[in-house]
Amino acid sequence: MANAVLHVADVHKSFGGLRALSDIDLQVMEGTTHAIIGPNGAGKSTLLNVCIGRIAPDTGAVVFDGQVITGKQPHEINQMGVVRVFQTPEIFPDLSLLHNVMVPAFAKRDGSFRLNALQVTSRQTAIREEAEHWLEDVGLYKQRETLAASLSRGDKRRLELAMGLVQHPRLLLLDEPTAGMSRHDTNSTIDLLRKFKERGMTKVIIEHDMHVVFSLADRVTVLAQGRIIADGKPDEVRGNPVVQEAYLGGAH
């Protein structure tokens, strides 16, 4: 039996009168790809925000790798090996693509702060090669010297994916990684993510695109109105009438 890398334990969160998350109890097993699906406003992104320390839950806790991470600073959670790829691409628009990927690589190597003001960035060969390797994997190597601001939305997503992967996270949280991508790019992203499954990286993925969910996920959790309404293997969930009612039927 694999260990639970991430355990979201009895988490509640309300915004004013709105119950965004209630009674969420979720375990993500080591090495699996765990999809979280649900209609808009179901609380999927809030759940991810709780996991990375952006939002504090009202009650309950998030345990990563045996340690409670609720209440920790976002950078501390990242340094533990939890990396998030955002829904709207969060990149460094004024830096080149190469530097965009080198920055997280430095975070991985040097920790949350280091006064390395007398090193020369362009001589950091190991970091640069690592960054170039990931840019190649997401298909952005040729544009590595351009500014990230000039990228299309889909390319920004792929850049952010490279920024996450360069840190070799233990747990990668992906918020709709293929939204805004062409079918072709979506498929290459799926292939890329599959590669990491083979290498044993644990992933939580929020996705609307059922094609992506069913090609990647080992387990699917369905959220609706802040509650878990189903949890199981992809085929079980697909056949579940409650899910079809709440989500698959309604949205598609």
Partner: protein, 377 residues
């Protein structure tokens, strides 16, 4: 460890241009040591300011406080220890750095406009304290000056007290006139080199990443506070060095050096020259100090002279409309120039230089060096 070859060329060119200032400034009447010293000193101030504002995007409106603290520290070193400028300058840098650590620690809890206001408040507080309760340290309105009775412990240990107040010296050489300028110029080149190293380092890259997207930095695993604080302290030390040099070339320190107008001046210099560029702040400092000296020295008689080729009526007319722009009113000229630059060249004078260069070489604009006016967050 060594820097890249291109940067070495840049550094050599910069050093060459700075050290030959007495030659190429002569035709425009600016080759006198006092002005050149000021250009070098304010160049240091602006380079340091740009490390904070240009790289991290935090706009401090209180950097003159560090300039003032540096000046006081240097004068105290002259009074208590020795007339040698080396301990004075070191002392100025250290004290300003400590002062910046305290102010930065508090101010950096906020960003954007709130950060700017906090730094402004701290600087004004320092200014007012220097005038009032801190009089024993700052000598209030009169300003801190050297006196015959100063202890100067180190100097007295080796030589007898002379009959007058000795001038500041560098390793026994009197520091005045051109030697004063070359001392400041050497430090300016050193400061430029250090700023360049920071710019090319991973640390500098993190600062630029913070400017670009600070929230992202936290989710990338960086604790941004120590980065911004380090940048704040470094730029405070640059300001302290500049303040110390002001005192070394003219050994007195007054509270007006800390006033908000002085803080605003360094913002103008940096923006005028080009935020985020290495050379820009120095260019901005040079232009502003030059204008200040040349235009403020213009008076009505000189204007009459300049327009004397016109018929009497026209001459008087032109003198009347230009008079408000010179002499005491030179700030009006500065204001107009500043507005024109910000509207037409948001990247500062360096953007203008780049545009001209690109027009000749017909290369697309180089993105790497494009300075940008971005708000703090």
């Amino acid at each position: 460890m060594a820097i890249l070859r291109n940067d070495l060329v840049r550094l050599a060119l910069f050093a060459l241009v700075i050290l030959t200032m007495p030659i190429w400034l002569a035709p425009i009447g600016a080759a006198y040591p006092d002005l050149m010293q000021k250009i070098a000193i304010y160049g240091i101030f602006a380079i340091g300011f740009n490390i904070l504002f240009g790289m991290t995007g935090y706009l401090s409106f209180g950097h003159a406080a560090f300039l003032g603290v540096g000046s006081y520290a240097a004068v105290w070193s002259f009074k208590l220890l020795t007339m040698s400028v080396i301990p004075a300058v070191l002392f100025a840098v250290v004290v300003a750095g400590l002062f910046a650590a305290v102010i930065g620690f508090v101010s950096l809890r906020r960003s954007g406009i709130y950060f700017s206001i906090l730094t402004l408040a701290f600087a004004q507080m320092s200014y007012n304290l220097a005038y009032s309760v801190l009089t024993p340290i700052t000598n209030g309105e009169t300003g801190l000056q050297l006196a015959l009775g100063d202890p100067r412990i180190l100097d007295r240990a080796f030589t007898d007290a002379g009959s007058g107040i000795p001038p500041p010296n560098l390793l026994g050489e009197e520091l005045s006139g051109l030697s004063g300028f070359f001392f400041c110029a050497a430090l300016l080149i050193l400061c430029f080199y250090l700023a360049m190293r920071i710019d090319r380092s991973p640390f500098g890259m993190m600062l630029k990443a913070i400017k670009s997207n600070q929230t992202r930095m936290a989710y990338t695993g960086f604790n941004t506070r120590p980065y911004t604080l380090a940048a704040f302290i470094i730029s405070g030390m640059y300001a302290g060095l500049a303040g110390g040099l002001l005192a070394a070339t003219d050994p007195l320190a007054g509270a007006e050096r800390m006033q908000w107008t002085a803080s605003g001046e360094v913002v103008l210099m940096t923006i005028l020259g080009g935020v985020g560029t290495l050379v820009g702040p120095v260019v901005g400092a040079g232009v502003i100090k030059y204008f200040e000296n040349i235009f403020s020295a213009f008076h009505e008689a000189k204007l009459h002279e300049a327009f004397s080729f016109l018929p009497d009526g026209l001459e008087n007319f032109f003198v009347t409309i230009t008079a408000p722009f010179v002499g005491e009113g030179w700030h009006l000229t500065l204001g107009v120039v500043f507005m024109l630059i910000v509207i037409f060249l948001p990247g500062g004078l360096m953007e203008g230089v780049r545009k001209i260069r690109n027009a000749f070489t017909r290369k697309p604009a180089s993105r790497e060096e494009t300075g940008r006016l971005a708000p703090a967050e």
